[in-house]
Subunit: 216 residues, 2 copies
DNA sequence: ACAGTTTATAAGGTATACCTTATAATCCAC
DNA sequence: GTGGATTATAAGGTATACCTTATAAACTGT
């Protein structure tokens, strides 16, 4: 297995899983990568042989300790590069994410740490992902799950899919934004928001699941 | 052909060739990469089909215009990352070169240009390679070719092989260093130098071929 | 001009990581 | 508990870019 491929898979598992103990169905990995389920299955078997994941037939994969460590290290590199690209080179949000996806494999530990120091040891990437990731804060709730009338502040966008980031960015829903839920669309297909400055927007339900918030 | 592989080959041809019109023997490419001559031959054929190089049987390869452009773009990215790693993250010389070798494939045009702007549009990489490379200055001479008694200033180190950079760095022969040739070793196996501050060093003939200087 | 070296090319092999097709096993809902 | 969907696994295929071995062609020095 090439290191880069291993990292991509581990990173995806980490991003897509709901929690450490619930196995992530392979179908979700296949959809995320746009690969066939058979290919993902093959790769997951190799990852299990390598000790990175544990495979629970008919249920999915969980990360081993080694796998979690590798995923966290990758995510750290990813987010630091995102900060660099976004803060220092002023790249747009979603582009920073894409480019960081290439850079994250190319920087050894020592470079990562120096980059972190240069950036002033930031604690979150431009869309709010923690740079030394811990458990999701208990205060964090998904936009999708908030009721009408709730007021909340965006803390992060996760998972970090480029298309999603682009759409979210267009709605100006970056971490820190304060919004109020003003309505639910019929059949729960979306959430209508009133943002700071009086801007209004309707977030599709699928996207609303990726916006994490802290109630204020 | 994967883009990365194409770039590696074009970059190598550009670095190793003596001038634009003299074909670079495949044996030199094979040695540079540590690949078998057969593999290099195969790859060169594909590069020719792709319009990147022209292959002159029994003589070597030259870059087409497209190939030269691609090589220059790669070299520019490489050298800008080197500057970043060296100046901003304070990585040692040779390590910066190695890491830049990974980063150079991962940054699209837009990122490169912003990086250049951030770095203040530098004109040379840490070991003196021009960032918007032009023809080698007519004033530049190879250390190997200088006679005893000559005084010269290092302008650049080329080609940029990691081992070579490490050895040259140990001799403190960075661009800008002023040296005087004090002797030629027996059978021309090396060149003895007197550097600024009175340091003395013997540079093996093979390495001396990679140190470019301007007579003062 | 011929011997010896270098270079070219043919033929077949390896590993990685994808693919499709097809069958088998398991799960879940009614 | 059975049928339909999901998931697993087997079998065989593709492309890339490397490898070795072996033969053939072309160059080069004496």
């Amino acid at each position: 297995m090439r290191q880069e491929r291993v990292e991509e898979y581990l990173g995806a598992v980490y991003r897509l899983r709901s929690d450490a103990d619930t196995p992530l169905p392979l179908a979700q990995l296949a959809e995320y990568f746009g690969f066939s389920p058979v290919s993902v299955h093959e790769m997951v078997q190799k990852l299990e042989e390598g000790g990175w994941v544990q495979y629970h037939p008919y249920r999915g994969v969980t990360l081993t300790e080694a796998g979690t460590d590798a995923a966290l290290a990758l995510l750290r590199r990813h987010r630091l590069w995102e900060r660099f690209l976004s803060d220092v080179l002023s790249l747009p949000w979603d582009e920073a994410h894409t480019v960081a996806g290439d850079l994250e494999h190319a920087a050894p530990e020592a470079v990562t740490e120096r980059l972190s120091a240069f950036l002033g040891e930031p604690e979150a990437c431009p869309h709010g992902g923690p740079i030394a990731p811990q458990a999701t804060s208990a205060l964090e709730q998904c936009l999708r799950s908030l009721g009408v009338g709730a007021e909340a502040r965006v803390t992060r966008i996760a998972p970090e899919a480029p298309d999603l980031l682009r759409r979210i960015a267009q709605l100006s829903l970056m971490p820190g934004s304060l919004v109020k839920i003003v309505a639910q669309t019929a059949e729960a297909t979306g959430v209508a928001l009133l943002a700071e400055g009086g801007r209004q927007a309707v977030v599709p339900a699928a996207d609303a699941r990726a916006v994490w918030m802290e109630i204020v």
